[in-house]
């Protein structure tokens, strides 16, 4: 139901192969190849379907793609993003179901920018994986990947990411961060990787796996919240900045609801 709300808020037409300025939506039930042409600014909402498809998106020179990707079914999709000179690609990724998604980004022109904010919330015996590979193939590109994961019950969550900096891709500026919380018997695996062949670069990555802040929970309970509410509030806080920075601002709220719904089921 919430997914429907997201689609409704979005107000978008089914995406054609060439995206013109405006808002578009796509149900990932078959492989597609899309282009955002030079200088065009487009929004795209992708909802997965029970399938394993690949979606190729070319973001041309100076174009800007703002994309929200929602995994809510058992899917295994491969999203290939190619960004040309001065192009920009902003992705918000949300996963609330056993699913696999692999973003493979090629920064193929100078001054190209890629940003991904992702979140996965897994419960029960969910198995979920988010892979984000970013290839800095040209100098002066910027990328930032932040993926937050929550796993409870006997769920397994996995983040894997490679930042590849090609020889001569000087002045690359890249950040990669994987932050995770586990509850119960859940398992989380994170593989943040750097592969760097240029020397004038700023690259950092970080990963944390931990539990919720017991003191904060205590603090909230002292103010009268139940243990369940305190935990829920904290988890919502943990992931909310990801959706609050949603690539498409007007669907931030229903996205947050989708996640809250899942968190309530923890």
């Amino acid at each position: 139901m919430t997914v429907e709300r997201i689609v409704n808020e979005m107000v978008a037409q089914p995406a054609p192969d060439t995206l013109t300025p405006g808002s578009w939506s796509l149900v990932a039930d078959s492989s597609r190849s899309l282009v955002v042409e030079q200088g065009v600014r487009a929004e795209l909402l992708v909802i997965d379907a029970e399938a394993a498809v690949s979606i190729d998106i070319n973001v041309a020179q100076g174009a800007e793609l703002r994309m929200v990707y929602v995994s809510q079914t058992q899917s295994a999709n491969h999203i290939k993003l190619t960004v040309a000179e001065g192009g920009r690609c902003d992705v918000t990724q949300v996963m609330t179901h056993s699913s696999e998604v692999h973003f493979n980004t090629m920064l193929d022109g100078r001054f190209a920018t890629f940003e991904l904010n992702g979140v996965f919330v897994l419960t029960g015996d969910d198995r979920g994986g988010v892979t984000v590979d970013v290839h800095h193939n040209m100098p002066d590109c910027t990328s930032c990947t932040i993926v937050k994961g929550v796993a409870s019950g006997s769920a397994h969550g996995r983040f894997s990411g490679v930042v590849y900096v090609a020889p001569d891709a000087q002045r690359t500026d890249s950040k990669q961060l994987s932050r995770n919380v586990t509850l119960g018997d859940a398992r989380i695996e994170t593989l943040p990787q750097l592969e760097i062949y240029a020397d004038d670069v700023k690259c950092s990555h970080g990963a944390t796996v931990g539990q919720m802040d017991a003191e904060a929970v205590m603090y909230m309970r002292q103010r009268g919240l139940s243990l369940v509410d305190a935990k829920r509030l904290q988890l919502e806080g943990f992931v909310s900045d990801v959706v609050m920075r949603s690539a498409i601002g007007r669907i931030a709220e229903p996205l947050q609801e989708l996640i809250s719904e899942k968190i309530n089921r923890l």
């Binding site: 020889p167 995770n180 593989l191 943040p192 990787q193 592969e195 062949y197 670069v201 990555h205 944390t208």
Partner: protein, 481 residues
């Protein structure tokens, strides 16, 4: 990149290996190649008991079923294992009773290596078990150590004199089934060091072993076993050098450390095997398995400074089996020219309240490739496990590579694991600032590199820290401003 940095690179490439001399000593070798007969021959030459031969053969038969691993970030040329000489020992003249009887050539080699094998050692307070090629030549300070019940001898001797300890511990941390090179080592290991610290004993001196590959075409397969019994403490040093040769030499060692309840072991290595020349010809292939097992409340700390070898493949690891045990890994790996290093650690948290800390500093120059590979694993029952990892890379020049491959795997919700990594280069601003104060470019680079590695270098015992600093400087020597 500025003219200046290019100059530094050029001169980096010109700096030569300082330990590239060959000692002219008669060595006894066996024919090239590997077969059950060769293993029988090795075992016989060493006068081993039958049970040891059986172990070797079992490992060999297992090895035959294995394929060479290729997951590392390394470009390893195919190695012909039938083209290696598996045993080389300085020809025995007669039983030696005192230092004076040691072959003067051999002594000179040790002098060149800067090993204080004689009386200076009393002052230095270091006991050295020198392994040249494959047989332990002389072990010093054994008497002093024996008073405390500490056993420090070659592994061959230990097999003969302390079979109960060897049977109990050898292969208990790194079984022959562990990996390709562990199996090979278990089959053909020629010698190595054995060290046993009894319950509650604090070893009064740093124990030290020097490895050196001398004979041409020989593989060195040494085996080290350290057992620290309950509540004991030992600091163990290992240093490595090899002569300069055009062909590649193989080094596949296994180090096993057993840290019993509440014991504390500190293991430090400065590895300076011949890295090959500036065109990537020759050099040691260094494929090593090092692992320690920590029982309840035990502590194991690995510190390594890696500047040598053409190819390094090495992951000193800690299995934190007992509750409240802890492991540390401090590493500086420097690669230059065509060197390749793939090194890091594994921290396996099994016991409750286990803690680990990883600090890795990679330095790549020339055309080299330097990879950190690590794994932090928290098993289901490892409540309150904590890990902190920090992996930094420093790049000198734009033709080298730095890579970080950490795996963090948590099966326990109370675990807190943190990993941080950065990549940087020596900035033009730092060089300008230092030179404005009167330092040459070469000194400034050396100083900055040593500053960068400082956190690890300070973990080394004093004598080693000085040597390690010099080694880093040697690799940077000859730089022109």
């Amino acid at each position: 990149m500025s003219e200046n940095t290019n100059n530094i690179l050029d001169s980096l490439e010109k700096s030569d290996y300082k330990y590239g001399f060959v000692t002219d000593i008669e060595t006894e070798t066996i024919p090239r190649g590997l077969s059950e007969d060769v293993i029988r021959l090795i075992s016989e030459k060493k006068g081993e008991p039958d049970w040891m031969l059986e172990r070797r053969l079992k490992a060999y038969r297992h090895w035959l079923t294995l394929k060479h691993p290729n997951w590392a970030h390394l470009d390893i040329p195919e190695i012909d294992f039938q083209d290696v000489i598996y045993y080389a020992a300085p020809k025995p003249k007669k039983q030696l009773n005192s230092m004076d009887e040691v072959d003067p050539e051999l002594k000179r080699t040790f002098d060149k290596l800067g090993i204080p094998l004689e009386e200076q050692m009393a002052l230095a307070g270091v006991a050295v078990d020198a392994v040249m090629d494959s047989v332990s030549v002389k072990t010093t300070f054994r008497d002093t150590l024996a008073e405390k019940g500490i056993i420090f001898c070659s592994i061959s001797e230990a097999i003969k004199e302390h079979p109960e300890l060897i049977k109990k511990y050898l292969g208990s941390v790194v079984p022959y089934t562990d990996n390709f090179y562990a199996a090979l080592n278990a089959a053909v290991f020629s010698d190595g060091s054995f060290c046993y610290i009894p319950k509650g004993v604090h070893c009064p001196m740093e124990l030290s072993t020097y490895f050196r590959i001398n004979a041409e075409g020989t593989g060195q397969f040494e085996r080290t076993l350290i057992v620290a019994d309950e509540g004991s403490y030992v600091s163990y040093l290992e240093g490595c050098t090899a002569p300069q040769r055009d062909e590649n030499q193989l080094h596949a060692a296994v180090v096993e450390i057993v840290v019993e309840r509440d014991a504390d072991v500190k293991y430090s290595t400065v590895q300076n095997w011949y890295p090959g020349d500036k065109n990537g010809k020759g050099g040691i292939y260094n494929f090593v398995t090092k692992r320690g097992l920590c029982r309840e409340g035990a502590h194991l700390s690995w510190t390594q400074v890696e500047t040598g070898s053409a190819i390094t493949w090495k992951y000193p690891s800690c299995v934190l089996l007992g509750d409240n045990s802890s492991g540390e890994f401090y590493s500086v790996a420097m690669t230059n020219n065509y060197q390749q290093a793939d090194t890091g650690t594994k921290m396996i948290h099994i016991g409750k309240n286990t803690r680990s800390r990883i600090v890795s500093k990679g330095i790549s120059a020339g055309m080299s490739q330097n990879a950190y590979r690590g794994m932090v694993k928290v098993a289901r029952g490892a409540d309150n496990a904590r890990n902190y990892s920090q992996c930094d890379s420093l790049l000198i020049g734009d033709k080298c590579g730095a890579h970080t491959f950490p795996v963090i795997n948590s099966h326990n919700p109370s675990a807190v694991l943190e990993h941080e990594a950065t990549t940087s280069k020596i900035s033009e601003d730092q060089l300008f600032y230092s030179r404005q104060r009167g330092l040459s470019t070469e000194d400034a680079v050396g100083m900055i590199v040593n500053g960068y590695a400082r956190e690890v270098l300070t973990k080394l015992p004093m004598e080693f820290a000085v040597e390690a600093q010099k080694l880093l400087a040697i690799s940077l020597e000859g730089s022109v401003g």
